[in-house]
């Protein structure tokens, strides 16, 4: 059980570093969605089912959609 939580935390940090280092904006937004999804799984292991449901619905769903709409409208190249 501790091993699973350690692997999830490591994956969350790797996804966070990937958000910072990826040049294409859409890929960075998908990496941020991966951070939200892994945080939602960690909330389940920390005995918080309400917060896990809220983070999965809002963080990994609506925030990603709003980011993708904004990136498509500005049509900006990479950083």
């Amino acid at each position: 059980m501790v091993v699973i939580q350690a692997v999830l935390i490591l994956m969350m940090i790797v996804a966070g570093v990937a958000t910072s280092m990826l040049k294409d904006l859409i890929s960075a937004v998908i990496a941020c969605a991966a951070v939200s999804l892994l945080a939602s799984m960690l909330f389940y292991f920390l005995d918080a089912p309400d917060v896990a449901m809220a983070e999965a619905a809002i963080g990994a769903g609506l925030t990603t959609a709003v980011f993708v709409i904004a990136v498509r409208k500005t049509r900006s190249k990479e950083e």
Binding site: S20, A39, D47, I58
Partner: protein, 124 residues
């Protein structure tokens, strides 16, 4: 190994907050700065819930077997207050992010670019 197992949540959440802070300070694209803000939010939520966790107890929903023993004043659940605060904070985070992205769309329409170094010179 025991030291790592006892502090891995704090390390993970702290690393996420520091990565987000670094992105806000040094990136040049406006949307990357707003992504950094989102990472700081997520890291803070994980940190708050990890502080309220107690080992060996269960989620704060009173099921049948917990309802018999709660009268004896022995709490068998984790702390419910950080969860209530983080629930509010998640919803406020999405509202603030949506407002920031709408302002970024308007900035792009006005200036033609999202590079922070070129936008800073406001002409009065």
């Amino acid at each position: 190994m025991d030291l790592v197992a006892n502090s891995m949540y704090y390390l993970g959440a702290g690393a996420l907050i520091l990565i987000g802070l670094y992105m806000v300070i040094t990136k040049n694209n406006l949307i990357k700065i707003i992504l950094g803000l989102s990472l700081v939010d997520t890291g803070t939520h994980v940190l708050l819930i990890a502080i309220g966790y107690v080992k060996g107890r269960t989620a704060p929903i009173l099921t049948e077997e917990l309802l018999e023993s709660v009268g004896e004043a022995i709490p068998k659940v984790v702390d419910p207050i950080p969860q209530a605060l983080v629930l509010t904070a998640i919803v406020i985070g999405v509202g603030v992010l949506a407002l920031g992205l709408s302002l970024a769309i308007k900035v792009y329409e006005h200036n033609g670019t999202l590079d922070v170094r070129k936008i800073r010179g406001l002409k009065w």
